[in-house]
Amino acid sequence: MALTPGRTVTKWIRFVVDDYLGAPREIPIDSLGPVGWTYDETEVTAWQDACKSYLVNHPDVSIDITGPLDMTGLTALAASGAAPTLSGSWTVLAPISAPTFTTPLGLWIGFGMRNYWTAAQDQAWGIVAPSSTSGYQCSKFVIEGEKYSARFILYPGSVPAWGTAIIT
């Protein structure tokens, strides 16, 4: 697919999270909170300084989404450059939000550039290779009317990253 750098719109964003057996599934979303690094700012200003000064501390990378409640069955993830294939939001999120489910999850957000997200050219955020000590956890699953909201927090010690690879 031809490289299409530049700007884009939300219709080309893809949101993928592991199901409870560890397979990545794309689910429908209609809003996405800020994605990326949000650092704590520690002020270290001395009276003698000309202006306020800061250091940055640990970043927070929690992610909030909302979308339509959907009971579609589990569906294989679409490949790079292909149209999304969606699994149901309920089908994926209900099991991974169970209190007894504690496995860190792979999570991936792809930002397609005016086209279907394509590996090695379009940006993506997340943890594409989770392990027993690295990944996200679903800390909220709430249903209200026809929509759901969910939140994902980072497992301690994990480090997500920007990249151009698809989750596997």
Binding site: H58, D60, M71, T72, T91, A98, T100, K140, V142, I143
Partner: protein, 265 residues
């Protein structure tokens, strides 16, 4: 069970053995929200990390139109015993009235109020619920998202036990972490009659592969409107992929009931 998306109009609400759907406008948010404990090791970690702690589980608030129908009406149920725990089941039909396998939300919650208010000229009722009731049948589970086992339908002794095919788990596999069974009796042929409501599971949907899920049974209960219960099975009990409802008639000849199973993952 149908896949896809749905509208709020296909939701149904059952509370303590009463169908309140005819009065209800909405209920929610249906929530499972965890406390997040910050476990970042400042000197060792690159990014802030968290673990989930206790979740808050609640059906939110039931908003309904005020109705003083006797015995089974919203006012009759809600005003007299506000401040007690309720078995709440919200069935989410998929573009049709809820049917077997459709998603649902349920558990035992305290009713924390009952208020009548004006809304644009209409007289309405508001019934808020707390988080999980501390006197619930089981505190072993906090998984309020399950599947509807039996829709709001009457079953008769003339038809007998269920020999229909089962329905598939939405995730298409078996689990090994137990779950809980909720039943609500909405009507019967007479006062004082009995039946046993229970859960079958199987390795396929076929009738011949279906059998009782041990422990997931109401036992013999008196079937009158207002009877409901939650029965939990062990946290490590295997639950097969396919499920269906089951009934054994005692002295009852007709029982109208709803039920759900909340499979744990």
């Amino acid at each position: 069970m149908t896949g896809g998306r749905t509208k709020h109009k296909w939701w149904r609400v059952y509370v303590n053995g009463y169908d309140l759907s005819g009065y209800s406008r909405n209920i929610g948010p249906l929530g499972l929200v965890y406390d997040e404990a910050d476990l970042t090791a400042d000197m060792g970690d690159t990014v802030k990390g968290y673990l989930r702690n206790h979740p808050q589980v609640s059906p939110g608030t039931l908003n309904a139109v005020f109705d003083n129908t006797g015995t089974t009406g919203l006012h009759a149920l809600a005003q007299s015993v506000a401040g007690t725990s309720r078995n709440v089941l919200v069935a989410i039909g998929m573009r049709a009235a809820p049917m077997e396998g459709d998603p649902c939300f349920g558990g035992s919650f305290y009713q924390s109020g009952y208020q009548i208010a004006e809304d644009g000229g209409a007289v309405t009722s508001t019934i808020p619920f707390t988080g999980w009731a501390a006197d619930a049948e089981s505190l072993k589970y906090a998984m309020p998202f399950g599947q509807l086992l039996h829709p709001n339908v009457a079953r008769t002794s003339a038809t007998g036990v269920n020999i229909q095919a089962g329905w598939d788990n939405p995730t298409k596999d078996a689990t090994a972490k137990g779950g809980y069974f909720m039943y609500q009796v909405l009507a019967s042929n007479a006062a004082g009659v009995t039946a046993t409501l229970s859960v079958d599971h199987g390795i396929s949907a076929a009738h011949v592969d279906m059998g009782a899920l041990a422990g997931a049974t109401s036992g013999s209960i008196v079937c009158v409107p207002g009877v409901s219960g939650i029965v939990s099975i062990g946290n490590a009990v295997p639950v097969k992929q396919f499920m269906r409802w089951q009934i054994a008639f005692g002295t009852a000849t007709s029982v109208t009931w709803v039920a759900a199973f909340f499979r744990n993952y």
